[in-house]
């Protein structure tokens, strides 16, 4: 965002707010000092609108829109925390838990997991949906890292990190429906994919304990979600944060 870009004014939760004309609603919400929960969004990566946690209500608009992929417009009247939104958000988080196998007590990311944080934020203490207990697998073929599919929420942050920041595009989304999963190469064991530079950026981007460093045991994962933004800025704007 340059200084010269034209700005627009909108209203968020009754509060007026001025942002650059190309800003997303999520950027506008944050610049107003407010927040909505997010999972698939990571600053520095292309937003995809996959997790639907950032849904907001736009007055006079027939449906809810994900703030991370919606461009702010002049005169928009935005609500971020209506009772409807709160109940949908809670439901979405319950579905994340019911869909995979999240056993926090044994998870490498326990205490440092964005899914956990979001569950706390939306006040989820149990799931009203039956747990699916899907049969998934763990890929421990990489020398340094592992991928436990049981904990993957398919946010695709790893896919975008590896493609957009590292430029290796090791990951993609394979299959569909309940069989949908993150795949490495031709759905090979990760350790066999020659394109992987072992940089660890996908592990840094993962919001859960799905991607982890092998040396980390229960509750030892140290996430680095900020790295996507730092590297993106260093690349495109030549601004460094690693002093």
């Amino acid at each position: 965002m340059t200084q010269a870009s034209p700005s627009i004014t909108l209203q968020i939760n009754g509060q007026p707010c001025t942002v650059a004309a190309d800003a997303t609603l999520l950027q506008a919400i944050r610049s107003a000092g407010l927040q909505v929960p997010t999972l698939c969004h990571l600053d520095g990566l292309t937003p995809v609108g996959a997790c639907r946690l950032c849904l907001v209500d736009l007055e006079g608009h027939p449906k809810l829109e994900p703030a991370c992929v919606t461009t702010a417009a002049e005169g928009m009247v935005v609500h971020t925390h209506t009772p409807e939104l709160e109940s949908y958000r809670r439901m979405a988080v319950e579905l994340f838990f019911a869909e995979g196998n999240h056993v926090c007590a044994f998870c490498v990311a326990n205490g440092a997991c964005e899914l956990q944080d979001v569950a706390v934020e939306v006040g989820m203490d149990h799931s009203r949906f039956p747990y699916q207990y899907p049969k998934r697998h763990v890929d421990a073929s990489h020398a340094l890292f592992g991928l436990d599919h049981h904990r993957c929420i398919l946010c695709t942050r790893c896919v975008r990190m590896c493609d957009e920041i590292e430029g290796a595009h090791v990951w993609d989304v394979g299959y569909r429906g309940s069989a949908c999963s993150i795949i490495a190469g031709l759905d090979q064991p990760w350790g066999e994919v020659e394109a992987c530079t072992s940089c660890g950026k996908c592990v840094d981007a993962c919001p859960t304990g799905a991607l982890f460093r092998k040396q980390d045991a229960t509750a030892e994962k140290q996430p680095h979600p900020e790295r996507a933004q730092q590297l993106a800025e260093a690349r495109t704007d030549r601004r460094w944060h690693n002093q």
């Binding site: 975008r160 993609d172 989304v173 394979g174 299959y175 569909r176 795949i183 031709l186 759905d187």
Partner: protein
């Protein structure tokens, strides 16, 4: 997955990838790994990108097809006329089959397609559940 949708030509690329996957499947009856790898190299695409597309569509087979192909229709008409019992009968006989949702021959329901030829059963002759 194109993570930057505004990248020029990305949709054109997807379309031609699907065309080429069809051609490979036509030739081999399925998509052999080595062919997927060659295709990715030829198109200068990431392996996982090609595999993501190949594994998404039900029409693409990633494993060799069986000697004979048997498809049970699960469309509404076939369902009403006993497709479930037909499936149960095949399962009991140990016959491997795939399923489809309406093959456009509803008048003959319940429909079974064997090696590309439409056959049909007499609902009365099907075993009870």
């Amino acid at each position: 997955m194109a993570t930057t949708p505004d990248r020029p030509g990305c949709h054109a690329l997807d379309a031609s990838l699907i065309e080429r996957l069809h051609a490979v499947q036509q030739r081999h009856g399925y998509l052999p790994r080595a062919e997927l790898q060659q295709l990715a190299v030829a198109m200068q695409r990431p392996l996982s990108d090609v595999m993501g597309v190949a594994s998404f569509y039900h029409l693409f087979r990633l494993v060799p097809p069986p000697l004979h192909r048997c498809v049970v229709c699960r469309g509404t008409a076939c369902f009403v006329r006993g497709a479930e019992r037909l499936e149960a009968g095949l399962r009991r006989r140990g016959v491997a089959f795939e399923t489809a949702s309406c093959v456009g021959a509803c008048g003959q329901a319940p429909v079974l397609v064997i090696d590309g030829t439409v056959g049909y059963g007499d609902p009365g002759a099907l075993p009870e559940q």
